[in-house]
């Protein structure tokens, strides 16, 4: 139990630091208009919380993580809103992807427990929701729908790339949790 709390706390801090120290700088680099690089990986924390985590805890930690990212990105409320949305959607996506024999409540939605195919489908859907909401709220108007969709597409690709790297670098933690 306490192991899980420690593990998730570490993951929280780790993902947060990657997001604000590495990915934020990456998105600020001058790509000379050639390509739009932005990647969001901090929602992975919400995605990988153990299945039995109470919904309230998920929502509160999602809000906290979102606000912390917002403070770093100077986008007060934007990441918090998206992250709370992702946290709110998580139980429904989990119910949608529930295996025939049901979940083991001690497991986490991870490659180790659920398999790579399952994990990437689950992650792709929630990240898609998160990133689309992110750019929609960023533009705050459907008028820019083309730009919103383009940005969502590229950011989705980069985010999924970095998420894959992370879950494949640390397969151990994935297996244990």
């Amino acid at each position: 139990m306490s192991n899980l709390v420690v593990l998730n706390t570490v993951r929280f801090i780790f993902l947060y630091l990657i997001q604000i120290l590495f990915l934020k700088r990456l998105s600020l680099l001058d790509w000379q208009g050639f390509i739009f690089v932005n990647a969001l990986i901090y929602p992975l924390f919400i995605l990988m919380l153990p299945i039995r985590t109470p919904r309230m805890v998920i929502l509160l930690t999602a809000f906290l993580m979102g606000l912390m990212v917002d403070f770093s990105y100077d986008t007060y409320g934007l990441n918090a809103a998206c992250n709370v949305l992702t946290a709110g959607a998580r139980p429904y996506i989990l119910a949608w992807f529930e295996p025939r024999e049901g979940y083991n409540v001690n497991h986490s939605p991870s490659i180790g427990h659920m398999g790579a195919t399952w994990f990437f489908r689950y992650t792709a859907i929630l990240m898609g929701i998160h990133i689309f909401a992110y750019y929609w709220l960023d533009a705050f108007s459907h008028v820019y729908i083309i730009s919103i969709l383009t940005k969502t597409f590229f950011t989705f690709i980069f985010s999924m790339f970095f998420i894959s790297v992370i879950v494949l670098i640390f397969p151990k933690s994935a297996k244990k949790s």
Partner: protein, 280 residues
């Protein structure tokens, strides 16, 4: 009680928390980011404008009935000042007579409460009757703008009256062609509620497409010169016939008529007197 509330919170707490946090995030977003804040307040302004406009519309609609009645009264005043509603008492030109102009026609406003155009013999019902001065067989009904003929009153009760529509197989309205003065009888063949037929126009008359057809005023039911419609399709004469076959496109759309005026000839009694004299 407390237990129940806790249970309720247990069941719906997560959803509540979700909306609370989501709302909080959006408030932060709108408050702290200039672009989002501008778009939000702009949209809010548009939204409130739309709501206010709707409300204004509803309030207007409540007041519109009173406005309408006032307008009808004004309209009647104007109609009654027109030449075709007046009777000139002057016999010798230049004579100065205080009572030289008499009111020949007056108008009574009414609302249509039932109507039909789809059968061969159509009738309308009006919300005014004997108590408002409406009499059967001698009064006509015209459209709300003072143009277009609707029918002839054929029965009254104390508060309602029945009108034989011009779209009736027995309807006969005397009408003439504006300008040339040739006249005929308007009848309806029961086919198209927008088209009536002008019969009995002699074949030596000059008739062209687009000519204006007006009431002749010969029947004392309608004042002279009320716009009935225009001639549609080229008038022609059937083989061996002495009269034109003329189609008249009606000015008023009888299938959507709400308000009308009933025409009343103030000297109707004198015509009755004439009839009596003749019959004796």
């Amino acid at each position: 009680m407390l237990r129940g509330m806790l249970q309720l919170f247990g069941a719906y707490g997560a959803s509540l928390l979700f909306w609370l946090l989501e709302g909080l995030s959006l408030v932060l977003l709108v408050q702290n980011n200039p672009q989002q804040s501008e778009i939000f307040w702009n949209s809010w302004g548009i939204l409130t404008n739309v709501v206010e406009a709707r409300m204004d519309g509803m309030v207007d609609y409540i007041g519109i009935r009173a406005d309408l009645l006032e307008l009808q009264t004004r309209n009647i005043q104007l109609l009654e000042e027109k030449d075709n509603a007046l009777y000139s008492n002057k016999a010798i030109t230049g004579s100065v007579d205080g009572d030289s102009i008499l009111q020949a026609f007056t108008y009574i406003k009414a609302s249509v409460i039932s109507n039909s155009v789809s059968i061969n013999n159509n009738y309308l019902r009006l919300d005014k009757g004997r108590e408002h001065g409406i009499e059967p067989h001698v009064m006509g009904v015209i459209g709300a703008d003072g143009q277009g003929i609707v029918g002839v009153v054929n029965a009254t009760s104390s508060h309602f009256s029945q009108v034989m529509s011009v779209l009736h197989s027995q309807s006969r309205i005397s009408a003439s062609i504006k300008g040339s003065g040739y006249f005929g009888v308007l009848v309806w063949n029961g086919i198209d509620p927008e088209l009536m037929q002008l019969d009995a126009v002699p074949k030596h008359a000059k008739v062209a497409v687009g000519d204006t057809v007006i009431t002749s005023g010969y029947s004392q039911i309608f004042p002279r010169g009320i716009f009935v419609g225009t001639i549609e399709g080229k008038p022609y004469i059937k083989e061996g016939d002495n009269f034109y076959t003329i189609q008249v496109k009606l000015a008023s759309d009888l299938s959507k008529i709400d308000y009308v005026y009933v025409t009343k000839h103030e000297m109707q009694d004198e015509f009755r007197e004439l009839e009596k004299e003749r019959n004796e």
